[in-house]
């Protein structure tokens, strides 16, 4: 049976969690994969915790549910760690990628009882340096692709440049490449 990869992105309204899951799915479509990607709709407003999902598989699949047991969790905002159960439903041996400024040891403190691989990326810093604003969504995707190559980085850069035309696309591509190289276990 072909493996379906479920990705959940936890973020805050306005940080681009929805855009991130969409672009990840579009990159997968570009490679000829099959996807089902959607945000969890509710009363969203800027700053509120939001989740969005991408389900990616190289073969057609028919599941049409929200992602309850993700393989990979991407946490765009570290302030969510104490607030939302970001590990909820995560599969055994799953992957967590967290935007975190401190040391990786202090990040692991949050996930003491969780059997999963924890990766850290200074997404906010990279986003501020490369883009000038705190929009670390694409940075996090860059880190995700290093850890779990669900799609190729080139495909993601291509759809990102289509979505964000001109300078912003270039900057995002650069930030993604940097994140791809800087993610640490």
């Amino acid at each position: 049976m072909v493996k379906i990869v479920d990705v959940r992105i936890n973020g805050r309204g306005g940080q681009g969690a929805v855009t991130a899951s969409r672009l990840l799915a579009e990159a997968a479509i570009l490679e000829g994969q099959y996807v089902h990607a959607f945000p969890n709709f509710g009363p969203e407003r800027a700053g509120a915790p939001v989740t969005s999902f991408s389900r990616i598989c190289s073969e057609p699949f028919t599941e049409k549910t929200e992602v309850y047991n993700p393989d990979i969790v991407v946490v765009i905002d570290s302030s969510l760690l104490g607030e939302v159960q970001v590990v909820e439903g995560l599969k055994l041996g799953g992957t967590i990628i967290c935007n975190y400024e401190g040391k990786i040891e202090s990040l692991k403190y949050y996930f003491e009882e969780v059997d999963s691989k924890i990766y850290k990326i200074s997404g906010t810093r990279i986003a501020r340096e490369e883009l000038g604003i705190n929009k670390p969504n694409m940075v996090m995707l860059g880190a995700l692709l290093k850890v779990a190559p669900v799609v190729k980085l080139e495909s993601l850069i291509k759809v990102t440049k289509e979505r964000f035309k001109g300078v912003i696309g270039e900057k995002n591509a650069k930030a993604m490449k940097r994140a791809y190289n800087e993610v640490e276990l």
């Binding site: 969409r22 959607f38 709709f41 028919t62 599941e63 049409k64 309850y68």
Partner: protein
């Protein structure tokens, strides 16, 4: 078969894209909640000059359908979209559209009714309109949403039919979810539909064939006119079959009015419609791996109801679980189960029917729950219960 152009689109965007390729003459829609992205995206196309449609933003869904009726009576090709409470507000005019035999196409994002206020997926809104003499289709994926938009025009505009068509895709789980959609080139869509609608001469406002519409018809002729609708509905079954066959040829995707999945040697089966069918198929795959003989049947065309096809598909199966994502209260059976029971009644070798109301207000029917349904229906069958009705996926 025409080579597809692969795009990543949500269900709403797929419908809007199909509508753009069809380039209807008029779209009238109410642009506020519970409206969907379909008309929002289409208004972009109008603004960018990609279509020649006149776009009428009206003040309510009642007016939206009324404007569609007026526009369609002139012979224009008309499209609109709505959801839940909006469809309920249209309800009165739905009967006008079908009674005047106007082939309007309506995209429904199936969402729950208030109260309590909810905007998530559930098919009750379209199900309550099943008796409005509208041809009614359900779509499972964004791909089907795209294809059914195109097919709906072809079915309704057939001169033998001349009935409005609605097709439903479930709110959020299909309408707002990004999926891979294989689209046709613009020219292929145009060729498939033909340039102009074929209109009987009396049935249009134009200077050469004037007539009176919507006149008072009392006991003398009313029943004859309603019976004509029933006969057109009967023909629509065959026309839909042909249109789907024709579309399968150009698109390379196999469309039938019902979709059978691993039913050939099945002893137990699920019957469902819309996105739930996708989950049922996934569960069938899981159960088949365990060695269970199970299949699933998806009803794509709900009105006219393909009773004989369904009987042929379900003949010899022991028990059928009907996964019904629409609410009915105090009813002897769930909505889809009731229709299914009527289609099978008195025939030989029919399965026992077990209806499950699920997924109301966007609640997700989880795959383990469907497996649980399977086990339960098996027990019911062994206990000899012919017709049972349950709710699943709620807390006690």
């Amino acid at each position: 078969m025409i080579n597809p152009i692969v795009k990543g689109m949500t269900g709403d965007e797929a419908v809007a894209w199909a509508a753009k390729q069809i380039n209807p003459d008029v779209i009238a829609a109410y642009p506020i909640t519970p409206q969907t992205i379909i008309v929002e995206r289409f208004s972009d196309y109008v603004n960018d000059g990609l279509v020649d449609t006149s776009y009428i933003p009206v003040e309510s869904e009642h007016s939206a359908m009324s404007a569609c009726v007026g526009a369609s009576a002139t012979g224009a090709r008309v499209f609109t979209a709505t959801a839940s409470a909006g469809l309920a507000l249209m309800y009165e005019i739905l009967y006008v559209a079908s009674g005047m035999r106007l082939p309007i196409v309506l995209a429904v994002a199936n969402r729950a009714f208030s109260a309590p206020i909810n905007i998530h997926g559930e098919c009750t809104d379209q199900m309550v309109c099943r008796d409005a003499s509208w041809i009614s289709l359900f779509g499972e994926t964004a791909q089907e949403a795209y294809d059914e938009t195109i097919m709906s025009f072809k079915i309704g505009e057939n001169p033998e039919i001349m009935l409005p068509t609605m097709f439903g895709i479930e709110g959020f789980i299909v309408t707002h979810a990004l999926e891979r959609v294989d689209t046709l080139p613009d020219k292929a869509v145009k060729d498939f539909l033909g340039d102009k609608r074929v209109i009987p001469p009396c049935c249009t406002f134009n200077p050469f064939a004037v007539g009176t519409f919507g006149s008072l018809v009392l006991q003398d002729n009313y029943m004859e006119l309603k019976r004509q609708q029933e006969e057109a509905m009967h023909k629509a079954y065959y026309v839909t079959k042909n249109v789907m066959a024709e579309f399968s040829e150009i698109s390379g995707r196999n469309y039938e009015i019902i979709e059978k999945y691993k039913l050939e040697d099945a002893e137990y089966a699920f019957v469902s419609y819309g996105a739930t069918a996708g989950n049922a198929k996934a569960v069938v795959d899981r159960l088949r791996e365990k060695g269970e003989k199970v299949g699933t049947l998806k009803i794509r065309l709900y009105r006219p109801y393909p009773a004989s096809d369904i009987y042929e598909a379900l003949k010899g199966i022991k028990a059928v679980s009907v996964l019904d994502r629409s609410a009915t209260f105090g009813s002897p059976a769930t909505i889809a189960q009731g229709d299914l029971a009527a289609a099978l009644y008195g025939k030989e070798d029919v399965p026992t029917l077990h209806g499950y109301i699920n997924g109301l207000g966007g609640r997700v029917l989880l795959l383990p729950e469907i497996e649980q349904i399977y086990e339960q229906s098996k027990n019911y069958h062994e206990e000899g219960k012919a017709l049972t009705q349950d709710w699943i996926g709620y807390r006690r």
